[in-house]
């Protein structure tokens, strides 16, 4: 029993860390541009498929090279998609709703393209590191340790970027006060595109990390979109700190509910917690009014 509970906690921490990486990306887009990206889950699958292609088509069996090759592709794709699809809408009335519609359309297009290109069958990826750490009764897979370290590393790198680079500072500036950002001469359009591109990398990297545990499927991104959305809303829309806490709380909740009641109850439990929280605190854990 004790060992089982420790296992559940560890599994919650590991999933929580990847969720945190992905939810921070989603909340970042919302915080900066006040738009919601429905194709976010499809970028998760894109990460998985990119890794799978490099692994099985180019026969490269090194996660280091997979990351080196995938990250620039995700960055450029994210940037172009924002420039071509989202940016022109921003000049129109009710653009937030139009952005939702177009990203929803993009999600369907991408998911169906994956099915045409790669087939409906699940793709699996090799483990990033074989073997496991055994201490007495409990076993901790090295793979999980690496996933945890890389996710946390990604979040720390992102934090460093936000606080220490000029582009990072301008992202925070636009999120905190778009009018002020314009006054000091920050090119808002570039910041919107850069934010979208960075968030695409964050969720795509999450997709690569989790593909080795949960397979890659054409529609696998929806589950991630729903979870990332629940985390974002639970943590407070636009609050990065809130998303971090929420990701670990919900990762843990998922692990415990899955273990005690079975995986079918996980989404129900997530929504129950979300609805209860929003009933008491409509702005989420750390969100602000307005």
């Amino acid at each position: 029993m004790f060992v089982e509970i420790i296992d559940v906690i560890i599994s919650g921490m590991i999933n929580g860390s990847v969720y945190a990486l992905m939810a921070v990306g989603l909340t970042l887009i919302y915080g900066v541009s006040k738009a919601f990206n429905f194709a976010y889950g499809s970028f998760y699958s894109m990460g998985g498929y990119l890794a799978w292609m490099i692994f099985s088509v180019a026969v490269i069996n090194s996660y280091f090279i997979i990351f080196i090759l995938s990250i620039p592709v995700l960055l450029v794709l994210g940037y172009l998609i924002e420039k071509v699809l989202v940016a022109p809408l921003r000049k129109r009335d009710d653009w937030e709703i139009k952005v939702m519609m177009i990203t929803l359309g993009l999600a369907l297009l991408l998911d169906n393209s994956y099915q045409v290109l790669f087939g409906a069958r699940m793709k699996s990826l090799p483990s990033i590191l074989e073997g496991s750490l055994e201490i007495g009764e409990f076993i901790l897979a090295y793979q999980d340790i690496v996933i945890f370290i890389l996710s946390i590393g990604g979040i720390l790198l992102f934090r460093w970027f936000l606080n220490n680079t000029r582009t990072g500072m301008s992202v925070r500036a636009v999120a905190q006060n778009p009018a002020g950002a314009q006054i000091v001469g920050i090119p808002k359009e570039f910041v919107f595109s850069a934010t979208f591109a960075i968030s695409t990398v964050m969720v795509g990297t999450g997709g690569i990390l989790l593909a080795q545990k949960y397979f890659v499927t054409p529609t696998g991104g929806w589950d991630i979109l729903v979870k990332a959305w629940v985390i974002t809303a639970f943590g407070g829309m636009g609050s990065i700190k809130g998303s971090l806490y929420a990701a670990f709380i919900l990762g843990m909740l998922e692990a415990f509910v899955g273990w005690y009641f079975g995986m079918t109850w996980v989404l129900i439990a997530l929504f129950a917690v979300l609805l209860t929280t929003l009933a008491i605190r409509p702005q989420g854990l750390m969100g602000k009014w307005g």
Partner: protein, 234 residues
């Protein structure tokens, strides 16, 4: 330095500025007065590339800059300081100042300008690690002006700098504007009728219902019965 001819500005279909023409020479302090809601802020924002719908010409050192966005104009040395300050609330004073030096032209001078700004506003140096959202109204106003100075501007457009300040702080603002101007920066201030600020003006303009209704020196303004009427109700 700035030749503005027949400037018109619109918010949606609302025609705010109607054929406004103004010349600003290098080194001047220009003060524009006028009742609230008659287009003074819009005028400053139009020069600084913050109003999307404008017509007319704005020549800056001979080049037409009408229609250029603020990200280009800040680079060229034209900076707006907002009446409602528009600071970054969750950033420190220092980070706010550093973002003031965001433009390419200001970056090489960041360290030098920071020193200058701290000399002008010693309180900001004391509070450089405090979040902007925790500052008092007066301090936040000083920070907004200081952030504008960080852009290494040649022309500063200051929107109602004494709004909401107590009289002794108004004196302080006036002193700082004078000091900024002494350092060679051309300044245009938009204000309600605040004597300390009006006193600084090399030339005065009055904007009513989107049109210039008066142009001249302080003495001419004092002798103008219409101005007395609108500002003092005399």
């Amino acid at each position: 330095m700035l030749e503005i001819k027949n400037l018109n500005a619109y918010y949606d279909d609302f025609h705010v500025l109607k054929d406004v023409s103004i010349d600003i020479k290098k080194g001047e302090i220009i003060v524009m007065l006028g009742p609230n809601g008659h287009g003074k802020s819009t005028f400053l924002k139009s020069i600084c590339g913050l109003v999307s719908k404008i017509r007319g010409t704005i020549k800056y050192n001979g080049q037409n800059i009408a229609g250029l966005g603020s990200e280009k104009l800040v680079n060229m040395g034209i900076t707006y300081i907002a009446e409602n300050r528009e600071l970054f609330p969750e950033m420190t004073v220092l980070e706010n100042l550093k973002l003031g030096a965001y433009s390419k032209t200001a970056r090489p001078y960041e360290a030098r300008n920071l020193e200058k700004v701290f000399a002008l506003f010693p309180r900001l140096k004391e509070r450089s690690n405090q979040l902007a959202s925790t500052m008092s109204g007066g301090e936040a106003r000083m920070l907004a002006i200081a952030r504008g100075l960080m852009s290494n501007a040649e022309f500063l457009a200051i929107d109602e700098p004494s709004l909401g300040l107590q009289p002794n702080l108004r004196d302080e603002v006036a002193r700082i504007i004078k000091e900024i101007n002494k350092q060679g920066i051309t300044v245009m201030v938009v204000e309600q009728n605040i004597p300390q600020i009006t006193e600084l003006a090399h030339r005065l303009y009055v904007l009513e219902e989107g049109r210039i209704s008066f142009e001249g020196s302080k003495d001419e303004a004092l002798g103008n019965d219409h101005l007395k009427e609108i500002f003092l109700g005399m």
